[in-house]
């Protein structure tokens, strides 16, 4: 990658080499205290946002939210096809073999269909154009019969 003007042969520091910042040598990265602070702030934001993000209690279930803000909840272990009406048309959400996916969508980019199926709490599939949001909740609190699907 990089700009075309970059391939100027050997990279000795010519007369017009950058003089301003703590002139790092090419190839050597010198980070500052504020760089570390920025990364740390970002990391703590990630951590904070993950607190309480997922409701993991109870039975594993599929929660589907639509454009009007309504939510439907279905069990994850019952095969079902759910048509969801959005601004562009009908998106079909398919629950099958303990997994859920957006099977078809009227949206142009089909990102939601390409996302494939999900089955674990906290996972989600979203269709921004048709405003459909599918997520999996619950299923992690009972350690006795975890993940029967994998056995």
């Amino acid at each position: 990658m990089g700009a075309a003007a970059e391939n100027g042969g050997t990279r000795g520091s010519g007369p017009e080499a950058p003089t301003e910042p703590p002139a790092a040598k090419p190839g050597k990265l010198r980070l500052t205290f504020l760089d570390a602070a920025a990364v740390l702030a970002a990391a703590s934001l990630v951590f904070l946002s993950s607190l309480g993000a997922v409701d993991a209690a109870g039975e594993p279930r599929v929660v589907i939210a639509d454009a009007k803000g309504q939510e439907w909840i279905y069990p994850l272990d019952t095969d079902l096809e759910v048509p969801i009406e959005g601004p562009l048309g009908i998106s079909t959400v398919h629950i099958h073999d303990g997994r859920v996916a957006i099977e078809s969508s009227p949206c142009p980019n089909q990102t939601c269909v390409a996302a494939g199926s999900i089955d674990r709490p906290g996972q989600w599939v979203a269709c921004l154009p048709n405003q459909v949001f599918v997520r999996v909740e619950g299923g992690t609190d009972d350690g006795s019969d975890v993940d029967t699907g994998t056995w």
């Binding site: 990089g2 017009e16 040598k25 504020l34």
Partner: protein
């Protein structure tokens, strides 16, 4: 230092620089669109590289113009120009642009492109999550927040490291920075 706010006239070297950086962000948008991603919602953010490099090259007016052109390019490439999805791109890019330019203005050389890039990427993704919760998904948006923010941290870090190395070794960049200081 010339006029800090107006868009430069065509032919002037700063206008050529703006045109070049804009073209670069169009090109990188297309590259980004072509790269297969492990998750469809992941974005690399490489189209932000011109904005990141430009914090030292452009004054605030042309810098924001570059941000606007980047949104236009990205929306054209992904086909979301006249849908409300472009609103996300617009909000995210402008937030990142203001944060990155602000960080450079505020911290000068005490923060490198790495920190600037991380701040820009994370704030861009944060604004998009907030927008998603206001416009579309409501409270459900809190679920996408951790993934989105972590993604911003990772891609912002990678892009920042690349930009810092590029800036340290590119003669073109060194010369452009000299010119910008006038």
């Amino acid at each position: 230092m010339t006029d800090r706010t107006s868009i430069p006239a065509p032919g002037d070297s700063r206008a050529r620089l703006l045109a070049f950086l804009s073209a670069l962000s169009f090109f990188l948008s297309a590259v980004e669109y072509m790269i297969p991603k492990p998750l469809p919602f992941m974005r690399l953010g490489i189209a932000n590289l011109p904005l990141l490099l430009a914090v030292d090259l452009l004054p605030v007016g042309p810098y924001l113009a570059l941000a606007a052109i980047k949104v236009l390019g990205m929306s054209l490439v992904t086909g979301s120009l006249f849908s409300y999805v472009a609103l996300f791109s617009l909000a995210g890019t402008f937030c990142a642009a203001l944060v990155m330019f602000g960080a450079r203005t505020l911290f000068r050389t005490r923060m490198t492109a790495v920190g600037i890039s991380v701040l820009g990427a994370v704030s861009s993704n944060a604004v998009q999550v907030v927008l998603a919760s206001l416009v579309v998904f409501g409270r459900a948006a809190r679920i996408i927040a951790p993934v989105f923010l972590a993604m911003g941290l990772a891609t912002g870090l990678a892009l920042g490291i690349f930009a810092e190395r590029f800036a340290a070794s590119s003669r073109w960049y060194a010369r452009a920075r000299e010119d910008a200081r006038g």
